[in-house]
């Protein structure tokens, strides 16, 4: 189902977009297998249309609730955001997302003063997600943001790309996009959004805390312990290009980290 009347955004980049084929066949989505091609193969029927998709919003807020996907997105104006996406593995894409600011949804739930972080959870259903039958990660996948990161206007809840609804491999029906952080922070196929007081333990922190930190901001000066983060290969290009601080979104987000030692809080 295509989206019509989607507004443009001043946050969009005018860099050349990565082709649809690459965006939908080269995916890290371990719930559907650990190779890049697996998700496109194993997620063709995802999500099962006979089961309505529900999202729970709860935790430290005054208006918790459980929403059907359709009801959840109905109040919001969808816009197109063309964002750079930098994977922690050293490759990048430019993706025209369709979505709405996460902040709009969070405000509706009215978080209280204890809400210091937001925790996101992916569906756990090994029947639909065959990758979950192996303990590659501690399922379900969990991600988190500090409340001010979550409220930043760049942070997007995405429901589509290239004008069409998200495919299973890209995190249908609804996923997070945080363009200044490594791609794995953009949790896919979300079923729960919870306001919490303590910093959430994310799936990758649990897998390897030394290598994957809570913040995971794109930073060419802080290397992954096993590979350099100074350069990246843009999908479609042969030679590597330089990685930009905060993936080039410093103007919008650098303030969030003023005075923080980004080597320590990686």
């Amino acid at each position: 189902k295509p989206f019509v009347d989607v507004s443009k955004s001043p946050f969009s980049t005018d860099e050349e977009k990565t082709d649809f084929e690459s965006i939908t066949t080269y995916n890290n989505f371990y719930e559907f297998g650990t190779s890049k091609q697996d998700p496109a193969i194993n997620a063709t029927a995802f999500p099962d249309s006979s089961q309505p998709w529900k999202v729970v919003i709860d935790g430290e807020c005054d208006k918790p609730g459980t929403y059907d996907y359709e009801d959840l997105i109905k109040p919001f104006t969808l816009e197109e955001r063309i964002y750079r996406m930098r994977c922690v593995e050293g490759w990048s894409m430019v993706i025209p997302w369709i979505g709405f600011p996460l902040a709009d949804l969070l405000k509706k739930a009215q978080p209280n003063s204890n809400a210091k972080f937001v925790e996101f959870t992916t569906l756990y259903d090994p029947k639909q997600m065959p990758g979950q039958r192996r303990a590659v990660l501690d399922w379900p996948y969990v991600e988190g943001l500090r409340i001010d990161e979550a409220m930043n206007p760049l942070t997007l809840l995405s429901v589509g790309l290239y004008g069409k609804e998200l495919l299973g491999q890209n995190g249908a029906p609804i996923r997070l996009v945080v363009p200044w952080k490594y791609g794995f922070k953009g949790i896919k196929s979300i079923v729960r959004i919870r306001f919490v007081e303590e910093m959430p333990q994310t799936a990758w922190m649990k897998a390897n805390a030394r290598e994957y930190g809570f913040y995971s901001n794109v930073n060419p000066d802080v290397d992954h312990p096993r590979w350099s983060q100074a350069k990246e290969r843009r999908i479609g290009e042969f030679l590597k290009r330089k990685t930009l601080m905060f993936n080039g979104y410093g103007e919008q987000v650098a303030d969030l980290y003023a005075g923080m030692d980004l080597k320590r809080y990686f």
């Binding site: 084929e21 690459s22 066949t25 080269y26 371990y30 650990t34 890049k36 091609q37 593995e89 490759w91 590659v136 990660l137 897998a207 390897n208 290397d223 312990p225 096993r226 590979w227 350099s228 350069k231 290969r233 999908i235 479609g236 042969f238 030679l239 590597k240």
Partner: protein
């Protein structure tokens, strides 16, 4: 008529040497197939969204596979009596080096743009690069002593001892593979199991040989 037939048959009965050459040529082509497949995939845009990654990964994997195949030659010789296959081991070993070189060149060129300073920093800083680099360097003395002339000059015993470096290289290559994986270690573990199997055969064989001698 009969004489003519006999003549054809004797011409067809190739000498052992020509036969070996035919096998060698065939083997040479077979070993080249992975490269042909990759180049073909590159030219027809069939290597996925990240062709450089596919090329780097595949060439590295083929280097490791050829190392293991090379290590399979002796066990086959011991337990099947096909002694002639040792003639083809050199080519297999050199192919391991060939694919390792392609792997290395892709890293040096397309990842590091031949920036010597960056490369050196990377080798010192990142253990999986260090391990991969060492195993490539260790291949060099083996390649240099792969000719008949060098074999003779070193003497069979010393040559053999030097070429046991293959065990170290294969082990380091498996470790290099294991260290670069993010979470799913299944594939490198499979190669490690294959390698330990090859090592066990050797251990078993040498223990048996000692038993025979002491008897």
């Amino acid at each position: 008529m009969q004489a003519w037939i006999l003549n054809v048959i004797s011409e067809q009965r190739l000498s052992a040497k020509t036969k070996a050459n035919v096998v060698k040529t065939l083997l040479f082509i077979v070993c080249l197939l992975p490269l042909i497949y990759l180049v073909w995939g590159l030219l027809t845009d069939n290597l996925g969204a990240n062709p450089v990654e596919t090329l780097t990964r595949s060439s590295g994997l083929w280097a490791l596979r050829f190392l293991l195949i090379t290590l399979l030659v002796s066990p086959i010789r011991w337990y099947t009596g096909l002694t002639a296959i040792v003639k083809y081991r050199r080519m297999l070993g050199l192919y391991a080096f060939f694919y390792a070189s392609v792997h290395m060149l892709l890293y040096l060129g397309l990842d590091q743009l031949f920036d010597i300073q960056d490369i050196w920093k990377d080798i010192l800083k990142r253990p999986f690069i260090t391990v991969g680099f060492i195993s490539f360097i260790l291949l060099l003395p083996l390649v240099m002593t792969s000719t008949n002339k060098m074999m003779k000059r070193l003497g069979g015993k010393r040559w053999k001892r030097l070429h046991r470096l293959t065990y170290v290289i294969a082990t380091l290559s498996c470790v290099h593979f294991l260290m670069l994986v993010k979470a799913d270690i299944r594939e490198p573990i499979i190669y490690m199991i294959l390698l330990s199997f090859l090592f066990s055969i050797r251990l078993f064989h040498s223990l048996n040989k000692k038993k025979l001698v002491s008897r």
